[in-house]
Every structure is written in structure tokens, then in C-alpha cells.
Symmetry: C2
Subunit: 715 residues, 2 copies
């Protein structure tokens, strides 16, 4: 052991800290018991079986020897600066051992014990984390299942002892799995194994009292063996750090795939709640995580299927897939299924179709999906020409073949034809072999894998996975088009804490270039009369005070006030109504505005999730937004063109284009408004919520008007 | 050959005709060529290889011998009354051969040749069909791929020759496949093979010029070997006969599963079109087919997966599934996924949970999904107790287990525990083994199959299939609750052809007990004044004439007419407006009605699909129905309680229960109205369309009012 750095100099977070765990130069197992099947013996066996070449120390109260290795009776007998201590101690012994590790300048500790935050013992966990942090010890766990490094065949685990199959470092693209569930981790790993997809690391992060998800993603982003990162989480404890690490992985060209259950319950919440709360946490997370270049996945099948596509073809397509089949029935089924998935099968490019026509039998049509009919039975070269047409077609992003392959020789013939078609190809190719689970010859599978051809036994799974990957490709493009617009907004009024009165909210909107009705705040009745005269009758009059909750319900809003006399009466009425509803409340004054032209009512808002940050919310206004929950959540920096595309994804999007005689509305102006709200949220972290309800959209070219505006700051 | 019946006495349709095809006592192959690989030699080889024991005749121009069998040079040389002639002739020779078969009293002909309706040669096909029909010959095809009877090992096919694996007649429940696509047929068969599900018949029906889908379903409904019938169609040519046959299969306890692509395009159409046309053909078909007890399936995976459940457990569950797993992560994922599928995981019954609690480790909770945690590794009996709890629970309809099974011995231990839990069980059990495609020991698979345990490798596929089967069970219950209500409606007015004027439509509604606003038709202005005075001001006045299209656009509707003078002015205005819009049109008069109370506007309508019959359409009114396409299609005889359940499935259903201060509406009265419209459609086949738009729903208990009514008869 050489010079041991001080606590402050040791890495306790980030990729450097992870190194102590996955490639330690020395290991101590602390809490050793000689009982057969004990956690400590399993941990030791994992080192020995995998020919661990560093120093191994054992610490256990009983002392003595195990397999000829001396057992130290206390941590303090360890040499200074051991890289990794594996705690096979119950919760009760963890604190004391950690304190000793600090004294011995151990660099990293993994603790399997449960009995911490997951059972409500948050303080106990915080105390442990503080000791580690202050002592300069990197901590993994507690309540974790350990991890395996398949590159160096090193594993810290206590459940059983396994010979770790080594993956060739930096040669094959390999997939790493980080999981908060041990069960799912092994399931995912088995799924990858079966597809001959090498795994580089499996990591169970447990309670993440010290090191966690973000550190491992960071480590894997730099790891030269890992090309795809799979994350299963039930709680992202450090959203910002995680997103930053994911962006680094993305920059390194490594897809991060993420599963995080909980959308169901959150979806219900989202629909039930009000505009400001429409963005349930799970939906917000999904929006922002996707925008950070992470592929959000809902089901295990999709995870494995899409992981295989990305592991073999790192560049996700953005154009729709081309299909090759021998059956018209499959074309019909594919069309139906794609429509359900929301993915198009783009038409074949005319020059490609023209060329293909020469080779097809007269009764077949060159198009996408491409039905080769049964002709390939007699002309196997069609299985080169058909796939080649799809791969050559600039309009198509991937190739899905769905056929029955017949007897082994015929199957091999088709495969070889396909391989010829794939020369120089970079588009994902999935060969979905109908016939469900009928066995394929091992040499068939082998040959396909050599040529990066993905074999599938379910056309539906293939289509679903290809749709996922294609949507992911598009999300990456969209994120690339977004540009962080946190440019300060000049001319913003001075806000107090909490909810702002409407007149202040509207001042802010005007500073953003969002139109509000002509008018302004009147401090007394004469100002109100003058204001009304200036903007022209009829006017709307609204009582204004930051503390005036539910102004409509309080009788604080009067519309269509027709003339001067009516303004004077209205002034009195408003004061009386408010005094009755909230006695003693002092009004800022009354907002007097010209009644606006009618139009399509939308809602544009934003909320700041305390964990994930701001999202913009757009949807149609009125009862629709609540009855249908028909809103889109947008990252705050989305381009205006992409906001327009999102508006067109609303279930009620038809109403935007004019319907039953109403004119098409100025969708671009709506998008511009949403973009400005995004900018406001990005530039002003103190704003927690914005709600423009309604935003009236006028006919195309005539812009929008914000009829109401609520801006809420943190208290 | 015994007594040959006359043409009129021979069966050319139905189950009796199918018998000639699948179990012929004698076969003639017509169009024999000695060329190696010819269709005729394949057809012959199919007989010989499968030890066909009846007489075989060969007919071919060249004569001579084939394999020692004489070749007759013309059909007329055949003995009288051959059961089946297999035509391996090109289209050009089919007519002449059919004429000869009529002369020789052949009982059944299968013709493979293409070149008929599928390429536009409809007349040629009709001519062939007429010759067969008039001559008393049952015809299968043309343009079909033949069929295989796995019970007797008899096949009529020309593509290749195959040894047919015999299924044990009447012992194992077997599945039959009828398909209009040969490719899909072989795919489905392979899928069933791989699940060790015996197949009884595969039938390609081609153009169905004679015998078709309905005949085969009828035959299979009576066949003692077949227990599940799978149908793949792209066009149901005889909807009524098909539905009747499917009902007979249902009555025989045999599920009919049907795939029919085309929902995508039709869905688009449905959303674009108007109220009366909202029910696109595909959606209508799906509604009525499901109501007839057919299980409508969208994807191939679901078809195979659900077929396995129904083949092994003929009684489809109606209650939601219970889940058993070892991983909390799976519970979370299952909840999300089920919500997406629209299926609930019902809570465990309290007495079952109480019992289960005794056996679970203290940190586990007895509930559904049931997470056994990793405890079964040490207490394998939990794999008996957990599943038994689900199977014993009256609140749960099926059992889905989703676990990783570990090494073979452990896997077998779990399986044996499960088998113990299943004693006396009738609920479907799916054992979904996480780990994707990792191999299972053959003895494991064998043992599971012996005990009807369905093995799956994808939890998602299992859940999807169980959802399908459960929805199917519920659809059967719903159909059983429906009672055909075609009771004649007394008091209906006399209708002319085409669209009826509103006043006549409303008379019909009143005869059905549906409330309309107080008022009636005024033939002249004085009658209008009197009517208005009787019902009370303000009134609505609407010009009435069967030929008055778009009465609102024509200026033929005036609302809120306040007093007598206004009625007189309005009368004049209406006459002028209509005269301008449709010069020369004679009005029946003017409908004068009391203005109705406001309420929630719905649409209740019906249309008669020329092929599938009537469906009722319900949805919310106004722009919503068109912008969202948010309607439900209902069979005309649905019970009122089930109509209420359907109304609650509307995307906008929240509006029914009162929203933002509006009261909950009288959903039962809406359902009653829809049921009456169903009755009207069932009792009056001449009515092709009904449209009540809007039907105003008043607060709960206060009923509904039909503000407009359109009834359209066939021209």
C-alpha cells in the first residue's frame, strides 16, 4: 500500500469512486462467519472462483482461519487504504464498522444490509452516509444486492457464488444494467444473454445513501466496453445529476434506456387535477428524461427487443420502417398494427419502386409493405432484391422482414440472400420469422448474428421495438433542435412571493411579447372610467389583489360593462362583492380591459417540478382539458416547430384547423407563446407555476390573446 | 358406388357438403400431368402418402398411366357419383370440367386455379358457381390452397406433399383454422404446434364461390374433435350465415376466434365522417361479431396466446386475474401494464389475505399482485400456498405467475408446488417464466402441459392474452344478458321513402316513449299561433318538409320566438328563407315547440350496415363527437345496464357525472333511449338510419329530451 490520500482527496462520488468498487486492488470482507452458506463465505467464494488477484482480508469477531486465510478480529487490524470493504454485517453492526473503515482509510464500502431507509430508518441511514462522506469513504447501499463487473470478472455479491463469464473488453459492444430491483436485473441479463448480447456490468444500487444511479451512469458513459446502458429505477434520487450523466452518455454515443414504473397511478392523478397540476410527476419525468436523450421504456419485452436493436445498430433511425413479407395478410395486419403504434410505413420512393417492379412477378406491386408473394420459393434472389430495395430507399429508416422460412436449406438460402443485400448497410434489420417458437438451426442463428441480423419470432414485438427505437431517434433530433433559451426577460415586473395578481401576470406576459387585452390597472373609479373610455366599451372589470383567491367565485369579475355609468356601478359592485367574500382584503385596484374577440380557447401553462424542473403544458381550454386530460407536456426549450407538432398530437387537434365552420387558428402564435413561457420558466427559477387560461387563439395570422394570467412564485 | 342422388338432393352447402370434402369415399384428380413437381402429382402424393383408402381416379388429356394408375382422358369416363374432384386445372379449363362433373354427378369440387374474381373476372366466377349450384355440385374455391383434415389424415393440396400427423379424434381438444390467407394459416398452425396444441383441420377457402366460411364453421361446430375455431378473413362474404354458424359453435361451447385486418383505415374514416356514418364498417363488424360470441383478435401473438388459454381452459374467466411473483418490481410493472390494457387486478378477498398472511414472511403483504419475495427459495411450499390463494379466491378469475425459476431442480420444485395448488382447479393458469428465451428442460415443459399449465416466456404477452380472454368472457355474459327486443312499436307514423321530416321523426320517438319538446306541426300561421299559446312562450319554429335538406343552413329554424306577433313574423321569415334556399319546395308546415331546458347534449343514433345489420351509436354531442370521434357502437339488443356501462367508457364520460358545477345527468334515461332506438331498428328493417342530435340529458331523475330527430328509410 503506497501513500494513502486524505479523506478530502479521495473520490467518494462519480466515475472515479466507482473504480474502487468495480476494480479494487484490495478487498476486505467484513463480518465474516464460517457458517456454511453465509453471506460472507459467498462473498469470498465470488472472489476466489473468479481468480481475484488482489489482496483479500477477512474480518470477523471469531477470528481464526477460513480456507487457510487468517481472519482479523477487528477492522482496525486492516492495513491502511484498502480499496474496497464488503460488509456482510447486519444493520446493527454497520455504523461501527464504517467508523473503523474511516480510521483505516478504506476507500469504498458496499453494504448489503437492509434495515435502513427502506423500513423507515432514515436517520440511521443519514448518519451512516454522513460518517462515510466526512471520512472520505465511498458508500454503495445499504440494502443492495451488489454488482458484477463482467469485464474483469469481479463481483461483490452475497446471495450465491458464481463463475463470471468474461466479456471481451472494448471489442464487442456490451450492455450495462443498473437496477433498483435485483429480480428484474437478473431477468434483463438473461434476456440479453439469450440474444448473445454481451453484458459489461450489472449493478444493484439499493438505497443509494452514498454513490448512486448518476455515478454509475457517469462511469459507464466513460467505460470503453459499454455501449448501451439500461436503467431500472423506482425512484430517481438525484434527477439533475442523473440527467447530466445521461447527457454525457448520449454525447459518448451510448443510448441510455430507462424503465420506471408508476405511469398508471400518475396518469390518473394528472387527469383529475387542475391545470397547474396537470403534469403528474411521472409524466413530467418522462417528458424531461426523454428530452435529455434517454429512451423511456414501459415493458420488459420492449426493453430487451429495443436494447438488441440499439446494441447492434447504435444509430437510431428517424424514418419509418420498410417491410418485406411473403403474405398479403401480413401487409394488412402490419398496417393496422402500425397505426395503433402511431408509426407510419412511408411509401416506397418512386425510383426504388420502379426498379423493384422489374423483378417482381406481374401480380405483385412494388410498395411498402413489400409483398414478395410466394415467388421467392422459386426465385430466392428476390430475398436479396426486396430487402435491398428497402435498405437503398432514402425514405425508409429500417427493415423488418416477416416471413415463414420453410425447411432449413430454404431458410439458409433466404438468409444468405439477405446478407448479400446488407453490404454496407447501417439501417437496423430485424428478421422476424413467423411460426412462433419453432426451432431454428443453430448455424442459421449464428450466421445471422455474425451479420448483425436481429432474429425475432414475433412480428408484433419487432414492430413495437422498431417503433420505440424510431421514436427515440426522433426524440434525439428534437432535443438537438431545442436550444436552451434562458435569456433574461427584460421588463418583468417586481414579483412578491406566492400567487401574483392578474395585472402583474399580464405585465409579465407583455414583457414576453404575449398579447393581452388593451387596458390596465385602475386604482380608483375615475381611473377606471378613463381607462374604459380609452380602450373603448364594452370592457371587462376584474378586482385585483394577490390574496384574492378564486376571483370569479368571489364576484370579482364583471364582463361586458357597457358605458361610463356602468363602470361606476361595477366598481362599487366589485368592492362590495370582494368585501363580502374576503372581509378586510385591500384591493390593488381593478383591471379594466377591452372585451376581446372570441376564438378558440386554449390553456398554456407551466409548472416547475421540485425534482425534475420546469415543463410547459398546452391543451384546449374549458371543460375539455379536465374531462379528457388532453394536454401535452413540453420541455421548456422545445423549438416552436416542435411545439406546433405537439399541439397537433392533441386528441382534440382537429379543432385547431377549423371545424364546423370555425376558422383555422394561429397555431404558430400559440406555439410562440408556449416557447416564451418555457423561456420565462428557464430564466426565472423562482417561478413555480404559470397558467394562461384561457389563451384565445384567433384565426391564422391574427395571433393570440391571453385573457387571464396567473404566475406563482415560491413562498 | 350406390344410388346417386339427384342434383336437388345433394348437399352443396353446410356441414353435410363439407363432409364430401374432408372425408370423401372416392377422389378424382382432374388435370393430371406427369410432369415432376406438377400440382396434380402433389395432389396425388398427398393421397398416397397418407394411405388414402378410397378409390382414386386420375383424369388427364395425355392418358397413359402414373405409378401404375390409369389416367382417364376425360371426366366423362369417371363412374357416377364420385365424392370429390380435385381440379389441378388452370382457370381456362375449369368451366368445361365442372360441366362434366355435373354430368357425372360428382358431389364436390375443389378448384385451386386463380384467375377469377380476385383478378376482376367476377362473371367467369359467377358462371362457374351457377353451373355447380344448378348441377348439385359443392364447390370450394376457386383460388384456394386446399385443406387438411388431421383427424383422418386427408388433404387436398397442390403446393407440396406432406405426411399429415394424425390427431386423436375426439380425445384431445383440437383447434381448427379457416383462413383466407395461406401464409397466415401455416403460421398459425406452426404457432399451435409449438404449444403442443393439436390441430384438427386447416382450411383455405379462397374466393368462396360456392361453399365458404359459414359452412366450415357450421361443420366444425358439430365436429367432435374440434374445440376451438380460428378464423382469419379479409372479407366476410355472408355475414348473416357466418354469425348464425358462430352462434351454433358458441352453443356447442366452442370459442370462435377471428382476425380481420382493416381497423386502421376504417378507424380514420369513422372519425372523419358524420354522425350517421360514424360507425365505420370495420367497427360495426367488430361490435356485432363480438356480440355474437366471437372473440375478435388484432394480432398474431394474441391469437396464438389466447387460443392456448381457451384450448386448455374452455370457460373464459370474467373476473380479473391474480398475479404471483417474486419481485416487487414486477408488481409495479404489472399495475402499469394492466391499466394500459384496461383490466383491473382485483383486490384479494379479505379472508384469503388473512390466511395468506400466516404463511408470508413478515415484510411481505398478502395482496394482488402477490409478491412472495425471494422467500420461496428457502420455502418452496410458498409456490403452492401463493397460487392456491389466488385460485381459491372467488374475486379472481385466473392466475398469472411471473417469476424467474433458477436452476432446473429449483424450477421443477416450483412447478410441482404449483401442480399441488391446482387440484380441482378450473381457472386458467399461465406460468410466465422471466428470462425470455432461456431454455427450459423438456421434462419441465412436459409436466406443465400434462397439468394444463400454460408456459409463457413473456409476462406482457401473458397479461395481454389473459386480458383478451377475460374481456371475451365478459362479452359472452353481456350477450347472454341482451334480449332481442324486436317487439313492434305501436303508434309509429306512416313513413315515406328516404329521410323523414323532423315532426314525423319525433312522432316516432314519442311512440317509443322518448320525450320531445311540447308542441307539434302547424299547417298554417294561425295553427302556429295557437300551438305556441298552448305550449307557452318562448317557442322554437322549424320549417318541415322531407325534402328540406340542412334546414338550419336554409334558415328554416328560428329559436326563442317570444310572442304571438313574433310567431307571425317568424312564419313569414321561414317561408321566405326556404323559398330562397330551395325554390318551389312545398313545406308540410312548421314545427312549433316549447324551448327546452338546457342540459348535457348527447347524440343517440343508429345505422343499418347493409352487410352486418343495425348498430346503435351513442356519444356526446356538439363538436366533441366529431373532433374526437368519441362514440360507442352498441348491438341493438344490449341491456340498459350494459348501455350505461358503455356510456361510462366514453372518453368524455366524466361529463356525465357532473363537472365544474354542472349536475350529474340522467344516464339511465339516455340508456333507455338508446335501447328503444335499438328496438326500433330491430323491429323495422326498412329504417336505415336514426339520428337524435342533440338528445338533451337533464339532471339525474329528470330524463332526456330529443331536440331533433332524423329517421331515414331506404329509398
Amino acid at each position: 500500500m503506497n501513500q494513502v490520500p486524505n479523506a478530502a482527496e479521495r473520490a467518494i462520488r462519480g466515475a472515479a469512486a466507482v473504480e474502487y468498487f468495480v476494480r479494487p486492488k484490495s478487498v476486505a470482507i467484513i463480518g465474516v462467519s464460517s457458517k456454511k452458506g453465509s453471506a460472507s463465505l459467498n462473498a469470498l467464494a465470488n472472489l476466489v472462483m473468479n481468480d481475484y488477484s488482489g489482496d483479500i482480508y477477512l474480518v470477523g469477531r471469531s477470528g481464526g482461519e477460513i480456507d487457510g486465510r487468517p481472519v482479523l478480529t477487528q477492522v482496525d487490524d486492516l492495513p491502511e487504504g484498502v480499496d474496497l470493504a464488503i460488509f456482510t454485517l447486519p444493520a446493527a453492526g454497520v455504523k461501527e464498522a464504517m467508523e473503523a473503515c474511516v480510521r483505516r482509510k478504506v476507500r469504498a464500502v458496499v453494504s448489503f444490509a437492509s434495515g435502513f431507509a427502506e423500513v423507515g430508518e432514515r436517520e440511521k441511514q443519514d448518519e451512516l452516509a454522513a460518517i462515510a462522506r466526512d471520512g472520505g469513504v465511498a458508500l454503495l447501499g445499504p440494502n443492495c444486492l451488489g454488482y458484477t463487473n463482467y469485464v474483469d470478472a469481479f463481483g461483490a455479491g452475497f446471495v450465491s457464488a458464481l463463475k463470471i463469464p468474461k466479456v471481451s473488453a472494448g471489442r464487442d459492444p456490451a450492455t450495462a444494467i443498473i437496477s433498483q430491483s435485483g429480480g428484474l436485473m437478473s431477468h434483463i441479463r438473461m434476456g440479453l444473454d439469450q440474444r448473445d448480447l454481451p453484458v459489461s456490468y450489472t449493478i444493484s444500487t439499493g438505497n443509494e445513501a452514498g454513490i448512486g444511479l448518476a455515478d454509475f451512469v457517469d462511469f459507464l458513459a466513460q467505460d470503453k466496453t459499454t455501449s448501451v446502458i439500461i436503467v431500472y429505477v423506482e425512484e430517481v434520487r438525484e434527477p439533475e445529476a442523473f440527467l447530466a450523466a445521461a447527457r454525457r452518455a448520449r454525447a459518448a454515443g451510448k443510448p441510455v434506456m430507462m424503465m420506471h414504473p408508476g405511469r398508471g397511478a400518475q396518469a390518473r392523478e394528472a387527469v383529475q387535477s387542475h391545470t397547474g397540476a396537470l403534469a403528474g410527476d411521472h409524466a413530467v419525468m418522462r417528458t424531461l428524461v426523454t428530452h435529455a436523450g434517454i429512451m423511456f421504456i414501459d415493458t420488459i419485452d420492449e426493453l430487451i427487443d429495443a436494447a438488441e436493436i440499439l446494441a447492434r445498430y447504435p444509430a437510431a433511425p428517424t424514418k419509418g420502417p420498410g417491410f418485406v413479407t411473403f403474405s398479403g395478410a401480413f401487409c394488412a395486419i402490419a398496417h393496422d398494427f402500425l397505426e395503433e403504434l402511431g408509426l407510419e410505413a412511408p411509401p416506397m420512393s418512386p425510383h426504388i419502386a420502379e426498379e423493384m417492379r422489374k423483378h417482381l412477378p406481374s401480380f405483385a406491386t412494388p410498395r411498402n409493405p413489400l409483398d414478395l408473394t410466394t415467388a421467392p420459393v422459386w426465385q430466392p434472389d428476390l430475398m436479396r432484391l426486396g430487402p435491398k430495395a428497402i435498405l437503398d430507399d432514402p425514405a425508409l429508416g429500417s427493415l423488418v422482414i416477416s416471413i415463414t422460412v420453410g425447411p432449413p436449406a430454404q431458410a439458409l438460402g433466404y438468409l444468405n440472400a439477405l446478407i448479400k443485400a446488407m453490404e454496407g448497410n447501417t439501417k437496423p434489420v430485424v428478421f422476424s420469422i413467423l411460426g412462433d417458437r419453432s426451432p431454428l438451426a443453430p448455424e442459421f442463428v449464428e450466421l445471422a448474428r455474425q451479420h448483425r441480423i436481429i432474429i425475432s419470432r414475433s412480428a408484433e414485438r419487432s414492430m413495437r421495438a422498431m417503433a420505440r427505437v424510431t421514436f427515440y431517434g426522433r426524440a434525439l433530433e428534437r432535443s438537438a433542435r431545442a436550444k436552451a433559451n434562458a435569456e433574461p426577460v427584460s421588463g418583468l415586473p417586481a414579483f412578491g412571493p406566492g400567487a401574483q395578481p392578474e395585472w402583474l401576470g399580464k405585465e409579465a406576459l407583455r414583457a414576453l411579447g404575449v398579447k393581452t387585452p388593451d387596458g390596465g390597472l385602475a386604482r380608483n373609479v375615475d381611473e377606471a372610467v378613463a381607462m374604459a373610455a380609452r380602450v373603448g366599451f364594452p370592457v371587462a372589470m376584474k378586482a385585483q389583489a394577490a390574496k384574492l383567491a378564486h376571483k370569479t367565485e368571489a364576484g370579482g369579475v364583471l364582463l361586458n360593462v357597457a358605458d361610463e355609468a356602468a363602470v361606476r356601478t361595477a366598481w362599487k359592485t366589485l368592492q362590495d362583492n370582494v368585501a363580502r367574500a374576503q372581509p378586510g382584503l385591500a384591493l390593488d385596484g381593478v383591471l379594466v380591459e377591452k372585451m376581446s374577440k372570441k376564438g378558440l380557447e386554449l390553456v398554456v401553462g407551466a409548472k416547475r417540478d421540485p425534482r425534475w424542473g420546469p415543463v410547459v403544458v398546452v391543451g384546449l381550454g374549458g371543460v375539455l382539458i379536465e374531462a379528457l386530460g388532453d394536454v401535452r407536456l413540453l420541455p421548456p426549450d422545445l423549438s416552436e416547430a416542435d411545439i406546433v407538432a405537439e399541439l397537433r398530437q392533441l386528441k382534440t387537434a382537429k379543432l385547431l384547423d377549423g371545424f364546423r365552420g370555425t376558422p383555422a387558428v394561429d397555431v404558430e402564435a400559440v406555439a410562440r407563446t408556449a416557447a416564451q413561457i418555457g423561456r420565462l420558466m428557464s430564466a426565472n427559477p423562482q417561478i413555480v407555476e404559470v397558467d394562461i387560461n384561457p389563451l384565445v387563439a384567433h384565426p391564422k395570422g391574427e395571433g393570440v390573446t391571453a385573457l387571464d394570467a396567473l404566475i406563482v412564485l415560491g413562498e
